[in-house]
Amino acid sequence: MTNLKRPLSPHLQIYKPQLTSVLSITHRITGVVLSILSLFIPLTLVSVALGVGYFNILKVFLANIFIQLLITASIFVLAYHLLNGIRHLFWDYGMGLSMKDTYVSGYLVLIVSVLLTLLSIIFFEINIGF
């Protein structure tokens, strides 16, 4: 009980990756990425508080092609975490817990996340270099 150096679950390095486990750890990774991206909310507000000059600097920064690529990746990260979060909420109510349903909803989350990212690129005219 006192051995605090023991390995704790989830034993990511032991299990063979499966769709379910990969989607589960991806949910955590995307959550961490979104926590970092949440910095953008106070950052935008600070630029507004500082005045039009700083706000325009933010706009120029966002228009940069590398930042636009990062924004595209962020849309996928957000869409994935949002949809997989909804999948988790269904599980919490005891729905979709069978092996088949878990795989179907897993693939569905991935496909819809990609579709939402592609639609956002078109709708918001994100410049990703082509």
């Binding site: 679950s9 507004v48 508080a49 956002s120």
Partner: protein
Amino acid sequence: MAIFHWKIQRISAILLVPIIIYLAVYLLNLENISYSEVREDVSSFWGIIIISFSAIVLYTHSSLGIEIILEDYIHDLNNQRFFVNLSKLIHAILLGLTLITLIIIKGNYL
């Protein structure tokens, strides 16, 4: 405590579904909105209510999520406690910064 933690994580997740879609669409459209329009939106009554509420729910959800991850992967209890508290502090600072900046923008706009 764990059940309370679990419930707050789920309630904040449900609340975040419409909030995050609205915020993401607004931020992705930022390029097409002028400075004066953004300032007007942010300092309007509903702007202040939506942003304050969103920030509280978002940073609560984020803080609880990071806490769970730190508890799962940091095995040493002292380190775990340190990083959980650090995470809570950073989230509190970000929430505070959001709310204070809102007050400043509203104050300048009056």
